[in-house]
Every structure is written in C-alpha cells, then in structure tokens.
Symmetry: C2
Subunit: 121 residues, 2 copies
C-alpha cells in the first residue's frame, strides 16, 4: 500500500471554483475536503452529520441563528448536526472540511450550489 502525504497548498493550486469541495483524503468513513469560498452560501443544516470548518487562509464567517462566527487562519469550529448555519466570505478564503463521506455541501437544501459528486484531487 502506498502512503502519500498531502500538501494542502499544492492541492489548492489545482482548482479555482468556489463552494465546490474537493476530497483530498479519507479515513474511518470520514473525508478531508478542501474548498475555496467567496461570496454568500445558503443557510442550511445537516440532519445527521457534524461538520468541521478549519480556515487555512483568509477569513470565513459563519452565520448562526443568533450570532456570526469569524474564523481566521488556524481556527476551526464544529457545527453540530441539526444546527442552521450560513457560511460567507467577502474575500476568498481557503477552508479544510472534516466530515462523514455522506455529507452533502448544502445539507438539507438542494439548489444550484449543491455538489453531489465531489472530485478527488
């Protein structure tokens, strides 16, 4: 079995589309994804998956019911299942996601932002 390390910056150089997570690693039924975000995403929740956002570069905001989180590089947050959240980013931000392989990016919402077949890079 070949074991290869993953360099996040090299992977981030491979794509430029926003709000479209790419799988870079998998373990224990979970996936590590990279996503570039800019602009507004939709408010949504995930019925059965907790979701982790870790900011690599830039600034990510996550609107919740009664507050808005601001995540800077080196910061992470876990959004528990069932919790409504709306990520947004006035400027481009690079984010690592850690979540079950079953997680759909728009959660309970299905619209033009939904990406159901993720690329592995």
């Amino acid at each position: 079995m070949e074991i290869r390390k993953v360099n996040l910056e090299e992977k981030l150089d491979l794509f430029s589309d926003y709000w479209s997570p790419k799988i870079v690693a998998a373990l224990n039924g979970q996936q590590i994804k990279l996503v570039k975000c800019k602009g507004d995403f939709d408010m949504h929740h995930h019925e059965s998956e907790d979701e982790l956002f870790y900011v690599i570069d830039g600034k990510l905001f996550i609107e919740l019911d009664n507050e808005t989180l601001e995540l800077n590089p080196g910061e992470l947050v876990v959004i528990p299942k069932g919790v409504q959240h709306r990520p947004f980013a006035p400027e481009e931000v690079h984010v690592m996601l850690f979540e079950p392989a079953s997680t759909l990016n728009t959660g309970n919402v299905n619209n033009n932002l939904t990406v159901s077949e993720l690329d592995q890079i």
Copy 2:
C-alpha cells in the same frame, strides 16, 4: 447550544508535554487532538483506526516499513489501520490528529508512552 471556535495556537499555549495528545474538538465519533512531539516515539499500529497527522508547525518524520515520510507545515498524511509507523521529531513539532475517539496513542503497544486518559483543553 453554544458553538465556540477553537484557535489552535491558543490551545497549543496551554500545554508543553510531548507525545501526550489533548482533545480540542469532537464530531461524529471522531476527535481532533493537538500534540507536541520531540524525540522518538515507538513503532506501532492501530488495529482498527486510520489516523491522520497534520503538521501545524515544525517537521514531523514518520518511519514506515520501507520509507520515512517528512511532513512540513500544511502537510498531512493518513496512516491506514494495520500499518506500522513510528513518528519522530528531532526538533519540536506541533501536530493536529484526526482519529476515532477510541484511538490509543501507542496503538497495539502499551508502555510508558501510552496515554489512556486524554485531557480535553
């Protein structure tokens, strides 16, 4: 439910012991841990858990059966279950781990490096 972000540098400032992972977040039966490493760890494997190492700061080496990986900041690797590995670090390195809550740091080996009760910080 209060949702709090985690700043990794702030968490890393809270401890100084080596090879003793601290839990900083949990989701979907998995945990995010921070660990400071310096010196040699033992060769071991995990029977049923894949393990992810992500280097935040410093340089981590992981000896495998027939090669040694060198991980720099912004690089990660997944060590699949059953694969023998020995982390080591000539200089201090700060690492984030993603793994199931059941994972023991020394895997199949139980010795003075084993930490069976992890602190949450």
